[in-house]
């Protein structure tokens, strides 16, 4: 409970602000919410900006990378998103969603703008793009590395080959592990739309990955099943 001196209690609004301010002063900045950090950042606090950036830039970078398949675009988008936050962060409305959703929404707009502007065709065979995935291997055996890398690479290609509206749902729901609600906030659409797009996207991915899956399933033990009479 925060104790407020009597002389600082005026109207309800001012009192509420005072409590917030004193809360912010008492809590270490690392425990502040994104929204509180954003407020402090907009008032010129550099430390708050740094904390917010370090907390959220990874997700934004990965989202842009998964959407575009290009490391360069991902870096540019990450830079632009936080620059936008610096300049136009005041447009964030907490009633419409979290800071995280807001940032992903901005990132999505920048990615789509890059697609539209440059008519970007995803460079699947670019050597630069392979680099990020090679960085995070935990040094297993060569065969395992080869198989795993190949599988992941196939999935990555399949995701990148999806149409934009399906790709973004797969990236947000499956790779960023967002809930339907959060995804709907980012995309600015209904939850039902997210569900149906994800369903369709998974069907497309299954169709693209079916040959590999068939081979994998052929090695696994078959399940005894009767004919479907439903």
């Amino acid at each position: 409970m925060v104790r407020i001196p009597c002389d600082r209690i005026h109207t309800g609004y001012v009192t509420r602000v005072r409590i917030k301010e004193s809360d912010q002063q008492m809590k270490p900045k690392t425990e502040l919410t994104d929204s509180e950090l954003l407020q402090l950042m907009l008032s010129g606090d550099e430390e708050s900006f740094t904390l917010l950036y370090r907390r959220r830039h990874g997700g934004i970078y990965r989202f842009a990378l998964q959407m575009s398949g290009s490391q360069q675009i991902a870096e540019d988008v990450t830079h632009d998103v936080f620059l936008f936050l610096m300049k136009d962060g005041h447009v964030f409305d907490p009633a419409r969603g979290s800071v995280s959703s807001f940032l992903f929404g901005v990132a999505r707009n920048y990615v789509l703008r890059r697609f539209r502007g440059e008519q970007a065709i995803v460079p699947l065979a670019d050597d630069d793009d392979q680099q990020p995935f090679d960085q995070v291997t935990n040094e297993p055996g060569p065969l395992e590395v080869l198989t795993r890398t190949e599988t992941v690479e196939n999935v990555r290609r399949a995701v990148l080959s999806l149409p934009e509206k399906y790709r973004e749902v797969v990236v947000l729901c499956e790779l960023q592990e967002m809930s339907y609600i959060e995804t709907a906030e980012v995309l600015g659409c209904a939850i039902g739309t997210v569900r149906s797009r994800l369903h369709r996207a998974r069907a497309l991915l299954l169709a693209k990955l079916r040959p590999a899956d068939e081979a994998e399933l052929a090695n696994s033990p078959a399940v005894e099943s009767a004919r479907c009479f439903a």
Binding site: G58, H79, R148, V155, L205, V223, S225, R227, C228, A230
Partner: protein, 260 residues
């Protein structure tokens, strides 16, 4: 559970989403019974597994440190803090340009209208039809319609109906006399024009003249109007329309009425 219902929930089940326990057990039971759905379920699970592994592979990725340092540099620059103001200035400039353009447009429009208005009187003096002639052009048509609707013998019974509001208005307007400067204080009340005989109204379309005359009050009887027999020898004013053929086509009776 049937295959269609299975199709709608298989994605959620493969992704490990929360669902009702009954539905979950039904779906699993169905996959055991139906080979196609069982196969589909395994494919979905495999897909989820692959996507998860892709997500795990990419989890460690992050933007280079150089981006953070660039952003911090930008943050320290004072111009980045009031950026919205810069945008606002831009929009204000555009707003003022639009406002000035709109103002100029309005001023030019007003000037053009007034200039045209100054030229019009001369133009109108030549081309504008005489109000009396205009009235002549319209009046006989109305008269003809009225005559068609009302039999001539019934006219004496309703003489006051001929004093229409439009004719009263026309007569109450301040008029200029021939000296063209003095406004008359008098107003006139007049009947509608009454055709003289069965002449063609079409000839009146070509124009004519209105001649102010005085006739004996007893003349009113000829047109079915009531006459005060105490004043039968007095005169009343009348306007006669003389057509281009020199013949009198219609008459109306006029009574002076002082404007209050």
């Amino acid at each position: 559970m049937n295959c269609q219902r299975f199709e709608s929930v298989v994605g959620d089940l493969a992704r490990g989403q929360m669902m009702e326990a009954d539905v979950r057990s039904e779906v699993l039971a169905h996959t055991a019974e139906c080979s196609e759905c069982g196969k589909r379920m395994r494919h979905e699970e495999l897909l989820s597994q692959k996507l998860r592994s892709l997500a795990v592979e990419m989890n460690g990725l992050a933007a280079p440190v150089s981006i953070e340092s660039d952003l911090l540099k930008a943050f320290r620059q004072p111009k980045n803090v009031p950026a919205p103001v810069v945008l606002a200035n831009h929009s204000y400039r555009r707003y003022w340009l639009t406002a000035i353009a709109a103002l100029l447009l309005i001023v030019f429009s007003v000037v053009a209208v007034r200039w045209r208005g100054e030229r019009d009187p001369k133009h109108d003096a030549v081309n504008r039809p005489d109000p009396v002639r205009n009235e002549l052009a319209v009046q006989p048509k109305e008269e003809k319609q009225e005559q068609a609707a009302v039999p001539k013998k019934e006219q004496p019974a309703k003489p006051k109906h001929r004093f229409t509001s439009s004719s009263l208005q026309a007569q109450n307007r301040p008029t200029r006399n021939k000296n063209n400067n003095v406004v008359s204080n008098h107003a006139e009340v007049a009947t509608d024009f009454i055709p003289l005989g069965y002449m063609s109204v079409a000839s009146l379309q070509e124009g004519g003249q209105v001649v102010r005359v005085e006739v004996p009050r007893s003349t009113l009887v000829s047109f079915g109007m009531p006459v005060n027999m105490d004043r039968y020898n007095e005169r009343v004013k009348a306007d006669i329309i003389v057509g281009v053929d020199g013949m009198a086509h219609a008459i109306r009776f006029v009574q002076e009425k002082r404007v209050q």
